[in-house]
């Protein structure tokens, strides 16, 4: 209550009138600018003094209120991220608008809703670079599946690499079953993100240098299957290893990640371990693909039924670091050299050969 009285006695109204009457211009200006910054959203409404109610704030009250607010914030986590993502769309410093990378825009689109699913793409092409040349077609013959396949082809063509694969691996719950595995399902929100998990595991810095196919360009081509809508993507790459057995328990420092698993690579590979998604299983192959920064996990087609590889996800390849004489036990795992392009340079030097395969 004391605060409220203070406000009334020497608060803005009386002092303000006084200053407006007698103060020289600079002081008046200073006061005005302060008024503008002080409480821009409160308008003319009186603000209760800060200490009001604070005296009565007992410890047990704080405890249950905190838990109530925490629950509310937990429920609001998703909506808050969406709102922030919308706000991030406009540059804060007023720099003129620039066309964006369509993949980044569609990553935002995953959080969105639209009555026509094709709008999840069409609503964003106006903001993307004109080179994508995606044609808006609202006729019923143009299905959302073919819309997404064509968009993925355009993105690969404009990007000149396979960076789209990192989007294809995360979140395919809604349309994933109907799309070729290398085409992202922009309708599904991101569920698990290997890169984010690896960042937590290994730190930001370790991931910055990742570029497994350094110096190798993607030259994608497509193969349209006659009897279905399937479009296979032709890529070039090198097998790095085969997933042998889950090795999560054997290495403490890796703290078995919830959404990912660590596999030992089959003997014969130059590297030892791979962090892969839960979708990967024993026998899957780890490949370095031209134009893809991260190695990928592929499932080899069964010899009689299929000719295309299934894209399962990305992989982080690890190897034991130098042994520390002061700390006995297994050496800490570090990011393997293949992640920063050792195999790619072997290809460039003709000590390793690329193989052509199709992703289905």
């Amino acid at each position: 209550m004391a605060g409220r009285q203070l406000d009334r006695n020497i608060g803005p109204s009386r002092v303000g009138r006084f200053i407006d009457k007698i103060a020289p211009p600079p002081l008046r200006r200073a006061r005005e600018s302060r008024r503008r910054f002080a409480r821009p959203w409160l308008g003319s409404g009186a603000r209760p003094p800060l200490s009001e109610g604070l005296e009565e704030l007992a410890e047990e009250d704080v405890a249950w209120r905190l838990s109530y607010i925490q629950q509310t914030l937990r429920d609001l986590h998703g909506p808050m991220r969406t709102v922030e993502s919308v706000l991030d769309g406009r540059s804060a410093d007023g720099t003129p608008w620039q066309p964006r990378d369509l993949k980044d825009l569609l990553a935002h689109s995953r959080n969105c809703q639209s009555s026509d699913p094709r709008d999840r793409l069409y609503a964003f092409i106006g903001l993307s670079k004109p080179e994508y040349r995606i044609v808006v077609d609202y006729t019923w013959q143009n299905t959302v599946v073919s819309t997404f396949i064509e968009a993925a082809q355009r993105i690969i063509a404009v990007d000149g690499d396979l960076s789209i694969l990192s989007h294809a691996a995360i979140g395919r719950r809604i349309l994933g079953f109907f799309l070729p595995k290398w085409v992202p399902d922009w309708l599904s929100p991101v569920d698990v993100d290997l890169r984010a998990e690896c960042r937590k595991l290994l730190g930001n810095k370790a991931l910055e240098a990742v570029n497994a196919s350094k110096g190798l360009r993607a030259e994608p081509a497509y193969w349209f299957r006659k009897d279905s809508n399937d479009v296979a993507l032709k890529v070039e790459g090198v097998t790095l290893g085969i997933l042998d057995q889950a090795a999560d328990e054997s290495y403490d420092e890796l703290h078995k990640p919830k959404d990912y698993q660590v596999f030992k690579l089959l003997e014969g590979s130059l590297w030892e371990f791979a962090v892969v998604s839960r979708a990967a299983r024993e026998g899957d192959e780890v490949w370095m693909l031209c134009g893809a920064k991260w190695p990928v996990v592929l499932r080899r087609p069964s010899p009689h039924l299929e000719v295309t590889y299934d894209f399962i996800g990305e992989a982080m390849i690890l190897t034991p670091g130098p042994a520390d004489p002061e700390a006995p036990g297994p050496a800490t795992l570090i990011v393997a050299d293949v992640m920063s392009g050792s195999e790619a340079s072997r290809v460039v030097n003709f000590t390793s050969t690329l193989e052509e395969i199709y992703l289905g």
Binding site: L6, P40, E52, H108, C112
Partner: protein, 267 residues
């Protein structure tokens, strides 16, 4: 409220650049519609449109007529200005949509719907201890203390009887209006992103309240980033039995802050 809507003939965008307002809203359920009556030349056309559009047009008109009492409102709204049944027109308008928003005088984003509670833009700041997070010197702990005891006082004053705990949870306007703001479907619509990003200027409208993007964005960012962190820090303090010393410290800082503020006003 009744307002006369007249559809202007097709005209090149260049000709009306910077003169019209563009409307961004969330269409909502197709089951909930309103009848629009518009004049096109001498003809009068009636058609069904989303009820949310009716609400948004009314709100925008209200805002405009307060700001510019004697001027006609020139407004672009997708459902009125695009023939939705014509695939070709829809596709061509979709392709130039970003230009429509870019060339507008201002884009008005209507976040509320006919069923929204009032005060979605200010309810979570009303009567608050919040000062501008960007310009004030109040630290987060004090702001959070303010949030925690907000309406506590009025709860005691008006409801001496009954469960204060229940009263607080039910009537804490800042929480419910914050929930309403974030849960508002506009944020998650695909189309609005382009409308928002391309707009020359943005003003948010919620029932009778309006607020510019420059005002609202820092407040939202503040809530999204700072409040969860502070609440977590306080909860950790409570778990470690350090809550009473934290509160004591904050009370001291609040008193210091108030003295400083009074001195500044007096100067």
């Amino acid at each position: 409220m009744h307002c006369e809507i007249e559809v202007l003939d097709k005209m090149p965008l260049k000709q009306v650049q910077g003169e019209y307002l563009a409307l961004s809203y969330c269409a909502g359920s197709p089951d909930s519609t309103a009848i629009f009556s518009i004049r096109e030349g001498k003809e009068r056309i009636h058609f069904n449109a989303f009820a949310n559009l009716g609400h948004a047009v009314h709100r925008v008109y209200q805002y405009w007529s307060t700001e510019h009492p004697n001027r006609d409102l020139l407004l672009w709204a997708d459902q009125i200005c695009i023939n939705q049944a014509d695939h070709a027109e829809r596709a061509s308008q979709v392709a130039m949509m970003h230009e429509i928003y870019r060339n507008s005088r201002m884009t008005l984003v209507c976040l509320s719907t006919p069923s929204s509670e009032p005060h979605g833009l200010t309810g979570w700041l009303k009567g608050s201890f919040f000062d501008s997070p960007l310009t004030s010197g109040i630290d987060m702990d004090i702001q959070l203390a303010g949030l925690l005891c907000r309406q506590h006082f009025s709860a005691w004053e008006t409801h001496h009887e009954g469960d204060v705990q229940e009263y607080w949870a039910k009537n804490h306007e800042w929480i419910s209006s914050m929930q309403a703001l974030f849960a508002c479907p506009w944020w998650a619509r695909s189309w609005v992103y382009q409308e928002f990003v391309m707009a020359s200027q943005v003003r948010f409208v919620w029932a009778e309240e309006t607020k510019s993007l420059e005002e609202l964005a820092p407040q939202i960012r503040f809530v999204c980033r700072e409040i969860p962190l502070a609440v977590q820090a306080w909860s950790d303090a409570a778990a470690a039995g350090r809550l009473s010393s934290l509160l004591k410290d904050i009370k001291q800082r609040v008193v210091q802050y108030e003295v400083r503020e009074v001195l500044q006003i007096a100067l």
